[in-house]
Structure formats: C-alpha cells, structure tokens
Amino acid sequence: MNPLLPVVTSVLFWVAAMCLVAGVAIVGPRRLYGVGGNLVPYLRESRREVAVLLVVLVVSGVGRPALQSVSEVFGLRLTGAILALEGDFVAWLQGNFQSPRLTLYFSSIYVFGYAFLLVFPFIAYAALPRSTTLKRLIVAYTLNYALGLVLYTVVLAYGPRNVMPDAVTSLLYTFNPNFQTLTGEVNVETNVFPSLHTSLSVTVATFAALTREEYPAWTPIAWWIAGSVVVSTMYLGIHWLTDVVFGTALALGCVYAAYRYVDPDEEDGSDGTEPDDGESDDGESDDAEPDETEPESWETNA
C-alpha cells in the first residue's frame, strides 16, 4: 500500500475534467464530436510516428535504471558547473516571491496544469480537418522525450532543492509530499538537465501559437499555463535556470524539426483515401466564438 494510487487518481480526474471543459469551450461541441471519427484514421496515418513515440516512452520507462547506471559511471557531473554558471538565481526567486498562495498555484500548475497542457492538444488537433498538426505534435513530443533521454544520460546533475537546501526549499514536496511519490515513479532526481517540463510546455505553447488560426482561444491559455509551468519548475526548486533555458531551446528545435519532417503538401498527396470526410470548411468558422469566455472557466478548474 502506498499513496501512488490516490495521487494518480486525482491527477486523472482533474485532467479529464479540464480536458472536457476546455474541449467544449475551445474546440466546440461540434468539432469535438468529430474527434471520435477522426482519431482512428489520424492515428492510423501517423502509425509510424505513434510507434516511435511509444518506443521512446517504453525505453525511457523500462530502460531508465540501466541508462541511469550508465549515467552514474560515465555521465558528466555538471551540478557544480551549473551552480557556478547561474549562481543563486533560484534561491533569489524563492526568497523574493515565496508565498503560500503562489506555492499552491505553482504546485497545482506543475502537476495538474502540466498534465492537462500535454494531453489537451491531442484532443484539439484530432478535431482538426487534417491530421498534419497531430502528426507534427507527435513527432515533436517524440523528439523531446528522445533527446531528453539522451541528455539525461549524458548529464548527471541534481536540482537546486537537492544542492542548496539551506537557500532553496523543496516547495512542491513540502506542499504535498505525496507528489514526490508520483514524480518518483516518472523520473529520478539526477535528471534535471534539461527541464522536460519546460521543453514540453514550450512545445505545446509554440504549437498553440502556430495554430492560432484554428484555435485562437487556446493560444493565450496555452501560453499562460506554459509560462506558469516554466516558472514553477524554478519556483518549486526543482530546476535550474540553465535547465529551463536549454529546455526552451530544445522545444523550439523540436517544433522546427517536426514542421520540417511533416509536410502538409506531401500528406495530401500520399493519404488519398481517408481525409476527405474532415475536409469540410465548417471547422474554420467555428473557432471564433468561444474565445472570450475561456480563460475564466478554465481558471476555476485549475
């Protein structure tokens, strides 16, 4: 018996609830209804990309202990170098802005907001008339995870909360120690460089900016949450500024590569059979309506 199950349950519950609300409000009921029809053909079209993503996730899940051992023996120990590079920035951030309310906000963002931010684009882009964006998203996620895994293995570093406990409090885990049971399942404490929370959030935010024509309401929300996640990684004492900077660079690189790799024109030529049922133009007209009401209704759920 351990607290993992209740924590996972609460995360699943809140993410599902947020996705539902955001789905209705941002994607709109009509297009949301189309997700069911689109999802299977879209995933079938992207089966190669999905397969690679699954492989990467399985490798990072199953192979992590082995890679961790490799990292311990051969990895670059950069904790001291990162500390020398950026000094007490994270300590300064905590020292100047720490408050119980912000801790509550950023802890919720780090766990629930982040999970929602990662899951929701799948729904939103599956509702689009073409599979291109979904495919690009999958490729970008895959690259993030794959490169993150490589960097985690090459670089062995501890985060600020582990290195300067006198100046940086481990706020997330002192706020709710059970979150550590959750994050302990997902990652180990020496994997701080780069911040994958940052890179995946920035990835989603960049996609949101690039798809603002389809979902204008989603763009500011995604930016707000992504920005909060980025700040939370440092505010909570988990990541260094350096991790965040490299995470951002990694994200931009991955999005660029994903756009290069998945070319919409090529897709049109190759698919042929499936995508015509989604080609209708009504998707375009829907997206303008919901944007005014959104931020508020989402906040209440966060």
Binding site: M1, N2, P3, P65, E72, R77, T79, G80, L83, A84, Y158, R161, N162, V163, M164, P165, D166, T169, S170, Y173, T174, P177, N178, Q180, T181, T183, G184, E189, T190
Partner: protein
C-alpha cells in the same frame, strides 16, 4: 617596475627566445617552473533528498572557504557513488559523510579509520590516506594496554587525532524518526535505525487485524541501496548496516556500551592471546547448519577475500579494522572456535566479535577474481566485493523474502533463530528474573540464551523477537515524503535521517510522534591527505577552524545534534576534559571557529594561512601549485 607576464605569455615567447642561444637556457628556467593558480577544493556529499544534513554542512564549509579565497565547489552524488569514489577509489579532495555505527563504540574504531597500514587498501579502513607515526604508535598501544593505562593512551590518541585532523568531527546527530505507536511500540528503546532498535520493538495487538494477515512492520527510508544490493561487505552500498545486522548474526553485539554474547553463547580466555567461543545451535537461512568452520572462514575471508588466490591479499572494505584484531581463527569442533588475538585489551578483543558471520558454503565460491562477461578487470577485485548478494543467506533473526530495486524490500521473521526459539520456551522464566542457572536447567535443550558468557546474558528485550512476522521497507524520495507516509498510515516509522524541513511536519500530524535517540554516527568532513595541500595537517587544522559547528547544529540539524571535537564523544567516559566541547564559549576546544555566528573572520583566517606558508594573489585568492 617590471611588468609581470602570465605563464602562457611567457611560453609564447619561448619560440622567439630559443632563437638566440644565450636566452634559451634562461627561458627554460622560467617557463619550466610550474605556475600557481587558485586552490580549488571539491567537496563531495549526498544530495538533500538522500541526506538532509550532509549537504548543509558542505555548503556552510564551502561558503567560508570561498570567503577566505579558496575556490570550493560542492558536488552532490548519491551514497553509492560517494562511497565508491571516496572509500574505494580515493578520488576526492574533501567529503562530508556520516560514520556507520549508531551505537556508542570502542576507541579501537580509530585503529581502522586512521592507521597508516591501511592507506593502500580500499574501504572504510583509513580512506583519508592519513599517515602519522605517533598516531600509529598510540593506536597499537591502546590495543595492548589494559585498564586505566588504556584510558590514558586513548586520551593521548584523541588529542593527537584532534590536532592533526585526518577528518573533522562536526556533530553527533540525534537519530530522529517519525513513528506511529498504534501498531508498534518501543521506538525509543534503541535507535529505530539500528538492528537492536528494530528487534527490541513490541507489537500492540488490538485484535483489529485479520488473523490470517502476518504482523507487518512497515518502514520508509530514503536509502534505496538495500533494495538493490545486500552484500554485507560492499562498503559503497552500506550505511549503518541495520538490515545486514538482522540478516547476519554476529558473535557478539554491542549493547549499552558492552559486548553481549549473541551467536556465541559465551566465551572464555584460555590465555592472554586465545579466546574460546561456544556457538549457539544455529542454521543458515538455506537450511545448512552453522558451524565453527563458518566462523573461522569469516575471519580469514575479511582479511583476504581471495582466500589466497590472488597474488596479494584483497581485504574486505568493511569490518577490516576489527577483523584485524584476530590473528587466526581455528574450529575446535562444530560448535567451538578459538580466536588467536595479539595481546589486547579485553574490550578490544570483544569488538573483534562484532563482525557478520558469513556462510562458508556461499562465500568461498566468491573468492575468485571478479569478471565482467568473462573478462577479469582487476586482480584486486574479487567476486565477493562486487556481488549484489541479491538473495542473502544469513543466520540472523530475519531472512530475505523479495525486493523491487528502488522501491521496496521485504524480510520475514526467522522462526528457527535462537531469539524466536528461546522466546517461546524460556521467555517466561527469564522474564520472571530467574537466575541464569535456573533458566538453563529448566529447558531440555542444550541451547539456552541464559547461559552467561563474557559476563552478560542476552538482554531480555530480545527474547522471542522480532515482534513482527514481516518487515517491509519502502524506498521513498525524501525525508519529508517518508514522514508523510507515516502520517498517512502507509508506514509505521521512518528509517533514514530526518532534516529540518521534516521535523516540524511531525508535530503537525496527530498520529505521528517524533522519536529522538542519541546516535554515535557522527557527521564529519573527511580530507584526502594524499593530495596537497590537504596533506598538511596545519592546513587541515585551519580548514577545520572555518566550520562553525555550533551554527551548523542550529541551522542544519535544527538543534537535533551536539557539536563535538572528538570522534569518541558519544562514549563520554573516554573523552578527556580538555577535548570536551567548550560549552561556555560554544566552541571547539582544539580548532575553534575563526569568526562569529557562522560568518568567518576573513582577515584572521588569511593571516593564519600566511603564517603556515600559504600565499595569496592580488585578488586575495589562495594560491596552490597547478596539479
């Protein structure tokens, strides 16, 4: 005024200089001299999640070293890496660690830690590379001296060690634990992070649990090493050896400062150098009988884990100091063994009995050189040193059931152990305070705990123990998480160090209590005396004086520790008055802090360094030869 040229500039000029033959020799004389640059010291320790205190000590020391002009860098690494690089590879400048014995120990501990005969060996034996003729002599003398003489020698030894600082004792922490008392009580009778503490606990049977369910003691620890490796002599994986001491019996255990017969029913001196021990009837967890041959094997094995197969002995990295007390061990019959020791004090000889007895039939096969994929890497490494020993075969009161690396490990009560056996039959008579002879005569077995040996019988609180059927140890991320597990009822107690962030949390949780017992496992700063300038005892002394132990105790330990100068401060009877912590000034009696309230008096510290021959550049950086 001559303009100084950097060394690099001078080297660049050599090309020109050699053009003219007369200048070539002069250029070589200048450029051939090694330059100096700022002294860099790396301080290694474990991250806060693993141990909340060590990193705080390292940070406090680094801050003051920086202030004085030394480039101090703190590098965190997990406990396994720290022990591997420090204890096995001797690849470190400075590290912050914790000694391994929770219960007060005999001064002979210093023999293993500081005797120069161990400098070339890998392990807990003299990891500092400290070599000092006077200390060596005092170490030998304290072994041989008996009674009041020994006390005098030990005092002298401590003075010498404190002055020369092979390591700097920082503080003796309180062993803190968060515990619930609704299922198990007795947390405070011994530190719960010690085998005797866990064995001494009692179960509160309220009849609430299903009869079919085994009584399970659940602990939460931040030290996941036990879930990965269960090799009792692998120094890089062991901390206090709590669970190892429950898996592997020792001939005697330390209890209240004296040796108590454990696996040995008792012992007798046959002469000044020969100790004869009678073993209790016991079997290994795999069913094989435990005999005197296993005991004899263990002592030979600790001395040389290759059992003569390697060209030079490959000693065990743990228990080497106390193992070295025993010259040879000979089985007399199946249950009698004779240990030959040098002429030593009885207390020292009894310390030699506190090593885990290993099964010969398992470990003799591990005397071969270690191989990876069939290749030998190093003649100095035997299989015994590197095996993970995943399914340990011991003879102790608990035996291994299963584990998931990084998550948990499960043990169960060993019903064949002498504690369990005696608890069922003899416990009552012993509990009633019946004398040893009576207890021995009323049992029909030959094996009784009550028989005296070495002056004492088995403490009553262990009879019939352990009180649990199963012992589950869960590995958690941090001290705070461990406390929360206890508060939420997922664990009965914590079994790793708690820091200042987690202690207040215990007070806020209604069902959770803070258990505090004194611990002898002192925190210290270790120096690599093989490397300049740490090879200089005067330099180490000044480094020691840059750490404000009193402030560290207040900040890093939230007051749950006592600053100290001598490594023996937990055994106060050994510490001379002049080495006791100066309570009036709250200062170290030998190397008092140069400064006040944690902030160092930079000018004074620099002056002290200049006096012993060190130099600073124009930016007040301490100069050292390029390494």
């Amino acid at each position: 005024m001559t303009r100084r040229i950097s060394r690099r500039g001078a080297l660049a000029g050599i090309g020109l200089a050699v053009g003219s033959a007369g200048c070539a020799g002069r250029a070589r004389n200048i450029a051939g001299r090694e330059g100096s640059s700022q002294l860099v010291l790396e301080i290694r320790t474990t991250p806060a999640d693993e141990d909340p205190n060590g990193i705080r000590i390292a940070r406090a020391l680094a801050e003051n070293l920086d202030a004085v002009g030394i480039d101090a860098r703190v590098e965190t690494m997990n406990g396994t890496d720290l022990h591997r690089t420090v204890l096995l590879n001797h690849d470190f400048d400075v590290y912050v660690g914790q000694y391994t014995e929770v219960l007060p120990f005999d001064p002979d501990v210093l023999y293993g830690l500081t005797h120069s005969r161990f400098t070339a060996e890998a392990g807990w034996q003299n990891p500092f590379g400290f070599t000092d003729l006077d200390v060596d002599e005092l170490l030998e003398k304290q072994r041989a001296a008996g009674g009041p003489d020994r006390s005098e020698v030990v005092s002298e030894l401590q003075r010498s060690v404190c002055e020369k600082q092979p390591f700097t004792v920082v503080a003796f922490p309180d062993a803190l634990a968060a515990a619930r008392t609704d299922r198990f009580v007795g947390w405070e009778t011994g530190p719960p992070i010690s085998a005797s503490g866990l064995l001494g606990m009692d179960y509160v049977d309220e009849g609430t649990e299903d009869d079919g369910e085994p009584v399970t003691l659940r602990l939460a620890t931040t030290d996941g090493r036990i879930s990965v490796n269960r090799n009792p002599i692998a120094a890089e994986y062991r901390r206090y050896g709590t669970f190892m001491s429950m898996l592997y019996d020792r001939l005697a255990i330390a209890d209240d400062g004296t040796s108590v017969p454990w696996l040995a029913r008792g012992w007798e001196w046959l002469g000044p150098e020969t100790l004869e021990l009678e073993l209790r009837e016991s079997t290994w967890h795999d069913g094989e009988p435990l005999t005197a041959a296993d005991v004899a094997f263990t002592y030979a094995f600790l001395r040389d884990t290759s059992m003569g197969n390697a060209e030079t002995p490959v000693p065990a990295p743990q228990f080497r100091g106390r193992g070295s007390i025993v010259e040879s061990a000979l089985p007399v019959d199946d249950s009698t063994v004779r240990l030959v020791v040098d002429e030593t004090d009885e207390a020292v000889a009894e310390r030699a009995l506190q090593v885990p007895i290993l099964p010969k039939h398992v470990w003799s096969e591990r005397a071969e050189p270690a191989t990876v994929g069939g290749f030998e890497f190093d003649i100095e490494t035997t299989e015994a040193l590197v095996t993970a020993n995943e399914k340990p075969v011991g003879s102790g009161p608990v035996r291994f059931v299963e584990s998931t690396p990084g998550e948990r490990v499960v043990f169960e009560r060993n019903p064949d152990h002498f504690l369990a056996r005696d608890g069922s039959a003899d416990a009552e008579s012993v509990d009633d305070g019946v004398s040893a002879e009576d207890a021995g005569s009323d049992g029909d077995r030959t094996d009784s705990t009550a028989e005296t040996g070495g002056g004492r019988s088995l403490p009553e609180r262990f009879l019939g123990k352990p009180a649990f059927d199963r012992l589950e140890v869960a590995v958690v991320g941090s001290d705070v998480e461990a406390v929360q597990w206890v508060a939420d009822g997922y664990a009965d107690g914590t079994a790793s160090n708690l820091g200042p962030d987690s202690v207040p949390r215990i007070g806020r949780e209604s069902d959770t209590r803070l258990v505090s017992t004194r611990s002898a496992a002192f925190y210290y700063v270790g120096y690599n005396a093989r490397r300049a300038p740490l090879s200089n005892p005067r330099f180490r002394g000044i480094v020691a004086s840059l750490l404000d132990k009193a402030t560290v105790v207040d900040d890093a330990f939230a007051g749950y520790a006592r600053p100290a100068s001598s490594p023996l401060a937990a055994s106060t009877e050994w510490v001379p008055d002049d080495l006791e912590w100066d309570a009036d000034r709250d200062a170290d009696p030998v190397h008092p802090f140069r400064g006040e309230d944690g902030s160092v008096d930079v000018a004074e510290a620099r002056e002290a360094l200049r006096e012993i021959g060190y130099r600073f550049d124009e930016s007040d950086r301490l100069l050292a030869r390029d390494q």
